[in-house]
């Protein structure tokens, strides 16, 4: 059985490799929703974006629009999601502990 720490590290590493490889291997066909939107003609009805993203469409503007740019963006995304989910867990956990201390 794999230890807890190595499972977490391996899981994040596998995810980072998957996300990076997506830049080369992922299909660029429109996905299910995009295809239906095209077919039924509501793709152009998407609302104008209300905020500006630093990394629009998984491409880092400073690295151009090649696959490497997507690979770096994907890897960074994996780390960001891991950190966000971890942070949210910690935040909820510390709120649980607080009342216990007061008692």
């Amino acid at each position: 059985m794999t230890s807890r720490r190595s499972f977490v590290i391996a899981g994040v590493a596998v995810s980072a490799v998957l996300a990076a490889s997506a830049a080369w291997v992922a299909s660029s066909f429109p996905d299910g929703l995009e295809k239906v939107a095209d077919k039924l003609g509501f793709g152009n009805k998407a609302a104008q974006s209300v905020h500006t993203s630093p990394v629009p469409d998984y491409i880092l503007p400073v690295l151009g629009s090649g696959p490497w740019s997507g690979a770096v963006a994907g890897t960074a995304g994996v780390i960001a999601v891991f950190a966000a989910a971890w942070g949210m867990g910690r935040l909820l956990q510390s709120r649980k502990r607080a009342p216990r201390l007061r008692r």
Partner: protein
Amino acid sequence: MSAAGVGVAARRARSRLDDRTIPLLGVTAAFVFAAQMLNFPVAGGTSGHFSGGVLSAILLGPAAGVLAMTSVLAIQCLVFQDGGLTALGANVFNMAIVGCLGGWAIWRGLVTLAGWRFSRAAAFLSAWLSVVLAASFCAVELGLSGTVPMKPALAAMAGVHAAIGLVEGAATAAILGLIGRVRPDLLERRKR
């Protein structure tokens, strides 16, 4: 509505979050994010990608599963502009609440009926259903918002996602099989 759902999930997940489950929450979310980037071609010049709701719910429990899916969708929206900020609520509802909780309920029901031996077959079936369900909810929402006529949207969304869901189901069952080998303890907790 989505905010309320995620709020309830946060409250329920809190009692189960500890030093063991928080890293798992992070890894599952990171993996789902990565897997959602891997679009695979399905019939007719269309692609699909993994969604991960049922996988997260089985690994983390339904409440923490909703949280993992929500964090994936939030990062996609805020950092990568994939799914607008104004659509985040609907995306969370369809993929985190319908896809994750709905899929979980189906999985739970199937396992109760058929027994733990069939847990992976149940995972395949419930993952497939969760994708079709989430897509159908999305079509109904588009229909209700007047963006597109309801009937053709529902037929097209459910149709395409019936194919995409097969891959979702197969991937969910395969990943659970792998995890059952390296970390059987993670799945043991779902037997009860």
